[in-house]
Amino acid sequence: MQSRTVRLGLLAAVIVAAVVLFIVLKNDNSNESSHTSKGLQVLTVDNGQPVGGVKTLTYNKGDQVELEVRLNQPEEEIHVHGYEIEKPAEHSPVRLSFPANIDGVFEIEVHRLDKTEGPIAELHVNP
């Protein structure tokens, strides 16, 4: 009696595990996280808004992040969360260069002169 339960149980486990693996592997095809950003990345900010939406920049830990933020008007600063990099942004372009030495997801924000702030890119650093 009990061993039948075990067998059925294992069978169920295998079936569901297979379903999970199948769906996950299927999703993996559309997953672009393995492509990392290389070289100088340019972000354009018009009137405090990122042109083309909030871009995701992906790096592997240890890579050098090279960013150029082009602005059409003076802003207060560009702020990289987590790394706590704050660069004054009175003049365009603003250049940022730092090693990606903390893994995780970090927001890059523009702090505007009117004291509001908004995301312009998302930094993904893979471990």
Partner: protein, 482 residues
């Protein structure tokens, strides 16, 4: 008979998983925290989910046949230890600390800097208090009880009244039995409304936290007057009920002024015998899920609802509030629906008690899952925010530039835990919570049904429910990890 039930269960488990997997995928942002976690990688998700299934069925097949966790064997610890922990002096000191922190939240909220990351009110309320006390409750027992500022103030006032009038103040009303833990359910939803929704798209401002604290305190004091101070704190006060729920998993509990210990988990089975118990633990799971899904799997749905709300003429913050409140309630309904569906399934087993009673009697088995969800979702954020709490927030609680303890220059080291550690802790928490929940459910089934076979059969349904919860938790983490 057994074969048919098994097939039904396998079907249900697969259905639950597939529904979970069909949710759309997006990614996103948390407000107070500078670093967010990368989503749990697909392979780890698949691995975690498979382990959950294999372990679940394995556990059922080797499980014991007589209930072992239903009696708690609470035993007092040595008298000197009990006295050292629970004497009137420590009670007064802890009460004073609680009232002091409560006052500081109000003061920092009304008078401090408006930047939530720099203000004591936000960091303390949402991390040190809301998450830290859950951890402390599991490890040390119901510690919030002695720090509870509302209880301390209530005791002071009723003590003063006794001194002047020579007798206790009579409570005008008795606490309605049917209310049970429902006031706490409303309180938990309200707290999470404040944390995730009230800010209208941003973190709640310290001012909003102070206002909410004032409103909650006013309601609490009014209810203490109506139903009696001790009675309301014991049964109706949200945080007492919420942290008390988690303390049931741990070994320590004070009774009649004496500290005692029991076996792990044996406190939980008694906890659920009150109306609203299931609703409270489901609310905890739902609000954590909502936090994980708000800027992850539900982003598109919420923004769609937000646009409809804007079309109706709501201002942007109000449209945000309306859309998120709707999705919070949908999450709660979905989580509750899954649980009650499992209970209905279980009810088909011969010899089951009525559905409502059955649902209540298994409510405590979800506490480990609620705890696992909290650990999985907040572990890294908690580590970061506690660094803030004990460096710059400690020395400069108002954000006005003071440096009380010389730690104002400190900051958060986001390198303290790497993504790999975070992922493993998250998956391990969910898997362990799942196993503990199944253990509690199996034990309760043995106590509920007079026959071991029926007990095991009833547990296929519980197993489907819990596999659903755990895989949904894993899925949320694999989509966006904020």
């Amino acid at each position: 008979m057994r074969g048919r039930t098994t097939r039904v269960v396998i079907g249900a488990a697969c259905a639950a998983l597939i529904t979970a997997l069909l949710f759309p995928a997006v990614a996103s942002a948390h407000a107070l925290v500078g670093r967010k976690d990368l989503p749990v990688p697909s392979w780890l998700f698949a691995w975690g989910a498979s382990v959950v299934l294999v372990v679940s069925f394995g556990l059922l097949s080797v499980a014991w046949t007589e209930a072992r966790l239903q009696r708690e064997h609470w035993r007092p610890v040595a008298a000197w230890l009990s006295t050292a922990v629970l004497n009137p002096v420590t009670q007064v000191i802890c009460g004073l600390i609680g009232v002091g922190l409560w006052f500081l939240v109000l003061y920092a909220g009304f008078r401090g800097i408006e930047d939530p990351t720099q203000n004591f009110a936000d960091v303390f309320t949402f991390y040190t208090f809301w998450l830290g006390l859950v951890l402390a409750s599991v490890l040390l027992g119901d510690v919030f009880r002695v720090f509870n500022p509302w209880r301390a103030i209530g005791r002071l006032i009723s003590g003063g009244f006794r001194l002047v009038a020579g007798q206790s103040a009579p409570a005008p009303l008795s606490y309605p039995e049917g209310w049970g833990r429902w006031p706490a359910v409303i309180g938990v939803l309200g707290f999470v409304w404040l944390e995730l929704i009230e800010g209208g798209g941003a973190s709640p401002s310290p001012h909003q936290i102070a206002v909410a604290t004032t409103v909650y305190s006013a309601i609490t004091f009014a209810c203490m007057l109506l139903f009696g101070a001790d009675e309301w704190i014991r049964r109706g006060e949200t945080f007492n009920a919420y942290f008390g729920m988690f303390s049931q998993l741990g070994p320590f509990e004070a009774r009649d002024g004496r500290l005692g210990r029991r076996k792990f988990l044996t406190g939980a089975p008694q906890w659920a015998a009150v109306p609203g118990a299931a609703a409270l633990v489901l609310a905890s799971i739902a609000v954590t899920s909502f936090d994980g899904a708000q800027e992850g799997v539900f982003t598109d749905e919420i923004s769609w609802t937000l646009h409809r709300a804007s079309d109706l003429g709501l201002s942007p913050p109000n449209a945000f509030r309306a859309a998120n409140a709707i999705w919070l309630l949908i999450t709660y309904a979905g989580i509750s629906g899954l649980y009650w569906l499992g209970i209905r399934g279980m009810h088909t087993v011969r010899g089951s008690p009525p559905v409502r009673e059955l649902g209540r009697s298994f409510a405590h088995t979800l506490i480990p899952i609620a705890l696992a969800y909290l650990v999985a979702h907040y572990f890294s954020a908690f580590l970061y925010q506690e660094q803030a709490q004990f460096t710059y927030i400690l020395s400069d609680p108002l954000g006005h530039g003071s440096d009380l303890f010389g730690t104002a220059g400190g900051g958060i080291n986001y390198g303290i835990v790497g993504s790999n550690t975070v992922w493993y802790v998250q998956v391990a928490a969910l898997v362990i919570g799942h196993v503990v929940a199944l253990t509690l459910a199996h034990d309760r089934a043995l106590a509920t049904y007079d026959d071991v076979n029926r007990a095991s059969r009833s547990q296929y349904f519980m197993l489907a429910v819990m596999v659903g919860f755990t895989c949904f938790g894993l899925f949320l983490l694999s989509q966006s990890n904020v």
